[in-house]
Symmetry: D2
Subunit: 344 residues, 4 copies
């Protein structure tokens, strides 16, 4: 099987390489670039010496057309023009950016401040939240891989919203991410001396994952709602923990919440439902494709605290993308992804 | 002026020393201990060589009675029995633990799982949220210094609750703290290899600062409410950022929120109201006694995101305690506390 | 193949599990304990939910005798008495502690301040520095897996010492380790608030790895020398970088140094020789079994700077132990160990 | 007293502000810029809101001539042309860069790869290692403030070299620094996700502080030597620890080493000699102007391990610069610098 990656120099791309290198169905893994043609990959990323010593290839549609799968792991605003000519050309396309996630191009323009992809491409794209969209993913030509925050949020909230155990009318989602979510481009925000020993809130009420989450809640739970959603930077490399708050519906118990989560995910290898938790940390899933979810009823207030935890670069990006590829190719979902979380 | 510290080996105690060493009215600073009598302090804490090379003193009520001020910076359940005999004996007492904060002893028993202080001692204790209780603090014999989380939460929320700009009926407070808040006693939770590169939620819906916040909202804003409150551990040493969510009252604008905060704190040197924020981080206040507050109306949802940021060891503990001492002694609040935040 | 681990709750043990879970020849992986019999492993380590939900087993020699391989990943002073009865009983034994490394029991007593293992057991133990002792490892009943620091130091220095490119008479080795090297037991030294944002030197001139390194230099390079060796704690979880300094022998060039390293390791998959380095960091090897080595001649001084980098928990512990197991079992050395370094 | 800072937006500049704000002799502190004229300083650095809300001023020699002291905290290659016109114009000049440290302009060109300052300016510049050059500093018009690494290295080594307790012929200095030493300009090396959880060596044998250290050893200890010197990046913000190795002279004892250090620094408030050390960490001095020094004889090898610890931004930059200013102005050296180390 021939697999190509466009944008391999980003953190999503590096994680794709990390997992695909041990994916038994991948015979040929080729890295493409728009700007660094000829650069030997391991010269740029010396952790890959002896693992990937190939030069980066120029993006060439004729060449790409012969691949089985092509991943794009580029900043938003790139695959919107790069991918459309490849639809119907052969390879299954999996986009890790936000360019094909929002069905409403006006919404994309408003939140991303960029030109949207062509409507026809958006129309055929399938939202790749694996556990909730498997049938469509199996047939997809173009997968819009979910955002990191939406993955943690949706996997924890969707079962409770769909089964009407929580009230969607006042839904607060407070999310926290490691700094790798900001990508590999240096900036003042991600400068070690200013990012370490600091915890910050950013894009207050304005994160571009808001419309993605609302769209998916509508799509998979049949609920229209406007969420309160904020994002914070944690001085660590990997991991997202999302803490959500909602009133539970009358009569709903703690057991109901856990039962709903367990039923939903009983046949899904990468979502683990936590039974009873004193504390929950991102190091439960570090380096792995797991999403751990939990819900706790607060009897005093009648509200539930709902938690989702992922590694933002794996289940929140490259891991879920490979999980989707496996679904498309009728492989077991776990192929190439059965790594044990690092914990430390 | 003679000042004593009981519990100087904890992080609150170390911060008291850091600031009192440069407090121009403090002539004599003596450290007391229940278990390490005779230990030369700088032998235990070598960062204090040449600064405090005195042996720890045994706790002796006759000796303590001659002090002007005595701070207790002990774990909960200690000053509840240690401090009552000193009331009316002379020194002004400032307790950094939770032992004298809750007026309702049943609530203390329920949340702290410990025996409460005598009701008479609790009755005379004054809650030391400086900016909101100055008159009472001035006359206080025994100050219950606020908890770290409550300080960040209350300073940001109280003005908006008191002026009825936000609806208290569904109040979500999502708080995050550096690990120094867990104190100096090693545990698995605070073991570097398990705490670093991890972000976790703990005591879900069960943190003992919940009743303290609700009591203070009642006391200072005249509002009875049950809050949703959760706490998270951030892999950094210092800092608390609290993110709160509430519906704004009809007609309330962004300008109203900021105006209310600015009016409230215009004469208070340690609360800074942020005008317009792209991002807000704990390193704005690191090492200092500042609390920075901000509120942002989300027009889409009609809810406000309200933020308070402090250094948990300073404004959230030792700094506010000294600020209270200054008020008690009719000194300028800023005496000894005018340090510039470290930023990095 | 049946594999047992004694001491699975330590960090070495957790890493053994991480790799053995994906080792295709391991059918049965059982965890043994001296003190926590019956504890479900994933209840203690929730990152292993769905991966290892078995109860810990009591240490029982009859049971252990039926295993193919038994690893001990216990603190020093434990396997010295635990392992000897199992020699000749069937399973291949691999000890990750220092108990069987030093051939001279007096030296063990002096540096470890503990009772040594029986001399007979020490006599049959084989030092498991895979790249330098493969033939003996293949036949070993009991492997003394090298210490973390010695692994990084020896792999970088041995080729140059053996080929007499550097002068052993004044050899300075300055080593730095992530904090996981201190194990999983909480202490003041490893308490997050005191370990983070701090870099420290410890056991000045007195680290117990000194005699191990000198013994191996004698054994593999035929050189008797007394090294200067110090160890430092880096505020990160994983990784060791050792910087060594020695005069080069007359006429030795930069090319000679690199050529020597390359020749030595040309058929060894886990040692990578760096060609030319502006900077070298531990994240080149994070999470993997690689050791990266480099040497740079300083023309001004006639001295070489020699560098070895490993993940202390992998090549410095569990990874090398599995590599040794593979050698013992005539499997390719890379079986189960072909993971890509995480980099971030 | 009027004090100006050129280059206030760098980390050295921010630390100057932090200390000068509490310096009782400084009445007017003005910040100058070559590129950001008019920017309100606290708008750029919100931790300084209410502390420094002034606009940055254009660099103007007529204005600067009226100041009592002018600090330059600019990258190397800037003050070499900026400062010479101000010599003899009135203000005492203190340069925190490397531009006036090396007396040999050829050496500057070789190590800095930049155009040197005019020889006349270099000739009048005084090397500001306070404890070793106080008399000259008192009369200086232009102070070349020492580099961060040289400060930690020289304060620990000079007494032993000058008193001939250690052999200078084979001197190994292995230094480690927090990342703030790299300045405030973002780069891949200082990008949080790549710098955190990584320890690296850089500029192997080629750091520009090598000639500075050798020149100062010659100047203050009267010894000509070529050092082995390497520098490493530690994933923390602040702190330098330098570990040095040298043979001791015949007959020299541990007591001799400590006695020599104590005698040298007995009247110097900012150098603390450690008596006996199990471990020594940078958090002993964090945020303060202290330098802690120690030496330990290794009886096995006859070599000493010598340690110097500083906060690179304080004693290694801004703090020492202010200490020098105090000397120039006949103030007590500790004025404005008496802060207690943060420890955590």
């Amino acid at each position: 099987m021939k697999v190509g990656i466009i944008g391999a120099t980003g953190y999503g791309g590096l994680e794709l390489i990390r997992f695909l290198y041990n994916h038994k169905e991948v015979e040929n893994l080729t890295l493409f670039t728009s700007s660094e043609e000829g650069t030997v990959f391991s010269a740029k990323f010396p952790h890959l010496i002896d693992i990937n010593d190939q030069p980066l290839q120029k993006i060439d549609y004729d060449v790409l057309s012969e691949f089985d799968v092509v991943f794009a792991s580029t900043p938003s605003g790139v695959s919107s023009s790069l991918f459309p000519p490849l639809i119907d050309k052969g390879p299954k396309l999996i986009d890790l950016s936000g360019d094909f996630r929002l069905k409403d191009v006006e919404s994309y323009k408003q939140w991303y401040k960029k030109e949207p992809a062509p409507q026809e491409a958006i129309d055929v794209s399938i939202y790749g939240l694996t556990e909730w969209n498997e049938a469509a993913i199996k047939e997809a030509k173009l997968i819009a891989n979910p955002g990191c925050y939406p993955t943690a949020v949706l996997l924890s909230l969707l079962p409770l919203l769909k089964e009407k155990l929580i009230d969607p009318s006042f839904l607060v989602i407070d999310a926290k991410s490691g700094i790798s979510g900001a990508g590999n481009k240096p900036s003042q925000t991600t400068h070690f001396s200013e990012a370490n020993e600091a915890f910050s809130i950013y894009k207050i009420n304005e994160h571009q994952h808001i419309p993605e989450i609302e769209q998916a809640i509508s799509m998979f739970a049949g609920v229209e709602t406007k969420i309160s959603f904020n994002t914070h930077l944690v001085p660590m490399i990997r991991g997202i923990l999302a803490t959500s708050y909602a009133q539970v519906m009358p009569g709903v118990t703690q057991a109901d919440l856990i039962h709903c989560l367990k039923e939903t995910y009983k046949n899904h290898p990468f979502v683990r439902v936590i039974d009873d938790a004193g504390s929950i940390g991102t190091n439960r899933v570090k380096g792995s494709n797991y999403c751990d979810v939990y819900a706790k009823l607060d009897e005093r207030t009648g509200r539930a605290t709902i938690i989702g935890v992922i590694d933002n670069l794996v289940k929140g990006a490259a891991g879920q993308a490979i999980q989707n590829m496996n679904v498309q190719l009728n492989l077991p979902q776990t192929t190439g992804l059965q790594v044990v979380p690092l914990f430390i």
